[in-house]
Amino acid sequence: MSIAAATNGKRHRLVPPPSPADGALGELLEISMGPQHPSTHGVFRMNLVLDGERVVKLKPVFGYLHRNHEKIAESMSYLGSMPYTDRLDYFCSLTNNWAYALAVEKLAGLQVPERAEYIRVITAELTRLQNHACLGGFLLQDMGASGTPLMYAFREREKILDLFEALTGARMMCNYMRFGGCRCDLPPGWREQAQRLVAEFPAFLDEFEALLNENEILMARTQGVGVLPASLAVNASISGPMLRASGVNYDIRKVDRYGIYDRFDFQVPLGEHGDVYDRYMVRILEMRESLKILRAALADLPEGPIMDPKARLRGFRPKPGEAYGRIEAPKGELGFYLISEGGPHPYRYRVRPPSFINLTILEDMCLGQLVADVVIILGSVDIVLGEVDR
């Protein structure tokens, strides 16, 4: 379904789009937004130069949460880094686990059994659901809709986290996937519970859409704001929903067909304008596609083992070489690049953090916009500082 169809093609414009200041700049004002600003989604700072209310320069400053995850991982066993990947993008620990497991499996040549692949898809799509739902809530919070949509989103997320807890033992720091499979099998009744959730979720989406999609204030605040043209988006390595909102059809689930994504029938929602509104709508539509995948995966889930018998927990030493594995995480392309020298530790361990790279063009999107819009443009990028700073 396209965005135009989902919203009956409505585009409102209450205020004229911001036009760049006509040549003559007034007195410039330099302000520092953050790092404790509630709208910055964590400890993130933007050094802004303003002409009146318009942005003429914006430099993001981060690193407040930097703990050199990569260095820590290089002194630790391969398995020992798995719980730390949970803490990168702490909203989506299961997709982080998967990306890391995928890279190590490429490096060591492990095969994941069928059932484990299905469980991975199910958990990853549930993660996407809760991430996108919350992002919608946060974005509206940034626009001034204090709490209400966010709390509705959190209410649904709570149910998904309950599923995660029942499966992995933890709500957010799941540490669930292992090289060559998953740590433990589904507990009894889990599948039915998940099916119930998937059956109920569309009702929430309908409500959420009724609440917001046609809301004139939302449209006025987001349409035509923070436009990102497709060519720049590709050149700047933007990935995930943000890239697709600019109209570029690139979804790693479709392109790389990692795991078993080629077995599912789903569409890739695309935006047309590349503005904040499209970024919001792409995520809403993506949730519906995720539900399709979930329905199919939960129905076909086969029986069988969940670990590659070749996989070893202790004393795991892949052969020398390197591998880059990437997946479509909710925030974009999450990749892990590993170099092994044959030892128990990776020689080089690199995370390709999607929200860090998606910030590259923050300045381009904000130039000429109002300072109040900077907040929602940043919100629509969907960053998590645990991953930006690593």
């Binding site: 020992g80 033992g169 507990p187 999609n213 004139e216």
Partner: protein
Amino acid sequence: MLGKGIIKGLAETARNFFGSFVSERRLTTVPYPDARQPLAENTRQFPFLVYDGDDWEQGLRCVACQICEKECPPQCIYIVKSKDKKPDYKGQMQFYPAVFDIDLAVCMSCQICVEVCPFESIKMDTEFELSTADRFGGLLFHKKQLAKPNAHYHRIHPTDAAASDAVLAAEKAKQEAKARAAAEAKAKAAAPAPVAPPPSAS
């Protein structure tokens, strides 16, 4: 009509507001601590040490092999191996941890120690109300605080505990079979001798 979307949205909030009094689906929270959500069986918080029998020191399954200490990602386990040995559940003489500390302030509940332990001796607890006024010492748990009976393990994770008991029972049976085979072989070897003492009754 301009404003229609907003009215539609307000109708939705009203539905949610009144719905939350009647609909289970719209009410996911409970007033903690007066009411509590039941914990899922797999829930994990912090590790504890399992002991069999009644005496926590004698029954401790841990043999101080220090694998968990080595594998723990944030390095929050501290073990000192004993000088002497004590019998384990199979009756074999084994070392035991003279000191076994876990700094729960550092532990990140990752469960890796549980996975790597070959002796089924460290497991995850579900206790989470551990706040203390002592920032430094209060969360450094010693052997005695960590030791919990197998019955506790059965209470919090019944499925896992049964599986773990089965593993231990199988090991024990295997060892007994081996011992019996060894004894028989010995008896056979010793049979021609006129005064072969019978294998000591265990």
